[in-house]
């Protein structure tokens, strides 16, 4: 029974981890930018959900409708106005720039929202589902469902739309994409905008489950990083597999070696993967 509960927990959490990581993976894969502001954007999304619920009682899943375009615009403008200026520079330069942006955003959040941990508690509570001894809170189930929907939407966008194909094309062969008439800089801005939109939406969903504080941003960033390494870079399925793998390791680790070591375990796994299988579970060498 414990095993079933651990598995269900891992499945629920894994989908949310995938949602955290997928925007990070997209930006890394397409722009070759390690986007250190990703964690803070997630936290900002969580504050948006928390604030709107506290003030006017809007349920978080409705907030997604606002968060997606808002964060897309933030990401698009960041790329257009700042990152595109240095995009051809070595990866350390873009890394430093996103590090600086993260410092600004994170400290601004500490200034405006304080560092206190806050919790979005739905009143009345939605309760939980119990099935054969396995218990899952309903709000978690809803958050997971939306995480899967967002992941699926990104997959469809990349596969089926003209602009999505162009994003993938730029990732696969920059020069060939230029030959097709693709304006690479605007594709970069769209990809970064999508990454930010997914971060914001993930944050909105996280607000249902985890405490909210600017201090949690590095934990989100760390998880995104581990998921990308586990699953492999730049594919939607890779992020999903990586998310589930991370959640499973953490869940099993919490039972076997204790909750306080679960995170340590996941980072140990990260190191092992970087040494043994740097392309990740689903990542391919060379392309994709």
């Amino acid at each position: 029974m414990l095993a079933a509960q651990v598995l269900v927990n891992a499945a629920v959490l894994g989908c949310l981890y995938a949602c955290i990581a997928i925007g990070f993976s997209l930006v890394w894969g397409v722009l070759n930018v390690i986007n250190l502001i990703h964690g803070s954007l997630i936290v900002l999304g969580a504050y948006l959900a928390w604030g709107l619920y506290q003030w006017i009682g809007v349920l978080p899943w409705y907030v997604l409708v606002v968060a997606a375009p808002l964060f897309f615009a933030i990401g698009y403008l960041l790329q257009r106005l700042l990152l595109n200026k240095v995009i051809t520079a070595p990866v350390l330069v873009t890394l430093t720039l996103t590090f600086g942006l993260d410092l600004i955003l994170n400290n601004a959040m500490i200034y405006f929202f304080k560092a206190d941990y806050r919790k979005l508690t739905l009143v009345p509570s939605l309760g939980s589902i119990s099935l054969g001894g396995v218990v899952v809170p309903v709000d978690r189930v809803i958050a997971t469902a939306f995480a899967l929907v967002l992941t699926g939407l990104l997959y469809l966008l990349l596969r089926r739309s003209r602009v999505g194909r162009a994003v993938v094309a730029v990732r696969l062969d920059h020069d060939a994409a230029v030959l097709m008439g693709v304006d690479v800089k605007s594709i970069y801005a769209i990809a970064f905008g999508l990454g930010a939109a997914l971060a914001g939406c993930a944050g909105v969903l996280m607000a249902l489950i985890f405490p909210i504080s600017p201090l949690t941003s590095s934990a989100y960033l760390g998880k995104a990083f581990v998921v990308c390494v586990l699953g492999g870079l730049g594919s939607v399925s890779g992020a999903l597999v990586g998310g589930l793998a991370l959640a499973l390791v953490e869940g099993v680790g919490a039972v076997v070696v204790g909750p306080s070591y679960a995170t340590t375990l996941s980072f140990l796994l990260l190191i092992v993967f970087l040494i043994v299988r740097p392309q990740g579970l689903l990542g391919r060498k060379g392309f994709e």
């Binding site: 003209r162 194909r165 162009a166 993938v168 094309a169 696969l172 062969d173 020069d175 060939a176 994409a177 230029v178 030959l179 097709m180 008439g181 693709v182 304006d183 391919r284 392309f287 994709e288």
Partner: protein, 243 residues
């Protein structure tokens, strides 16, 4: 139709950073013809293609297509004008399906679903093998099929001028023959083609007129058959002494 130019360049200079590769190229590609560009390795043929398609910066006295000035145009502007470059080594999007590669070819055009479908069908009619493999990742195609896919992707941009760099590279003679036949059909339908080709015999037999490049300059020009019979060309590029 007679003697209109689908591409005309005068005194084109280009290179990579400090290194100048092209030293004043004059070229005229006549509408409805196949024009070949031959020359040894490092003569600057690929660089010329890259300059014409807007991939690298260049200077020129004139770059015009059917009266439209293209000097200093970006790659997107060049392709919008109908000058389409099928690059050396195919450069397909390997992880994407064949059909998605073809759809990427039409990226620069603002057309609806029905038109896209019609153009896809047209490419599939030219290269039936591609229809069979439409759902397959482009990287899994054979070399010949990849070249078909690359040309098909170029056709999806609705070119006025199709520039093909190294048609035969790495392909068996039989496949080259098939591709040459396909190009003849396309040309018969009115497509202008600028062909860069290592295999000088193939190029000169196929083309209406040809340019010979050496050290970043045009050193000879004339009808394909005339050059094919030229003892100097035979000696330098065909490895057969004049008989």
């Amino acid at each position: 139709m007679a003697d209109t130019l689908v591409a005309e360049i005068r005194d084109l200079r280009a290179g990579y950073g400090e290194i100048q590769v092209l030293w004043g190229i004059d070229l005229a590609v006549r509408t409805g013809e196949i024009t070949a560009l031959i020359g040894s390795n490092g003569a600057g043929k690929t660089t010329l293609m890259r300059a014409l398609s807007g991939l690298i910066p260049m200077e020129c006295a004139l770059y015009r297509s059917d009266g439209v000035d293209l000097a200093g145009a970006t790659a997107a502007q060049v392709i919008a004008r109908g000058i389409v470059h099928v690059p050396e080594g195919r450069r397909l999007f390997g992880a994407m399906s064949v059909e998605d590669n073809l759809l990427m070819g039409a990226y620069s055009r603002d057309i609806g679903r029905t038109e896209l479908k019609r153009d896809l069908d047209r490419v599939y009619a030219t290269f039936p093998k591609l229809r069979e493999r439409r759902g397959q990742a482009a990287a899994t195609l054979s070399g010949g099929e990849q070249q078909m896919c690359a040309i098909g992707r170029g056709l999806m941009a609705a070119p006025q001028l199709l520039m093909i760099d190294e048609l035969s590279l790495g392909l068996s003679p039989l496949l080259v023959e098939q591709l040459v036949a396909a190009l003849r059909v396309l040309n018969g339908q009115g497509m202008s083609i600028l062909l860069v080709e290592q295999d000088v015999t193939v190029a000169l037999e196929l083309c209406h007129s040809a340019y010979v490049m050496d050290m970043g300059r045009i050193v000879r020009t004339g009808p394909g058959r005339e050059l094919l019979a030229d003892p100097i060309i035979r000696d330098a590029y065909l490895g057969v002494p004049a008989d």
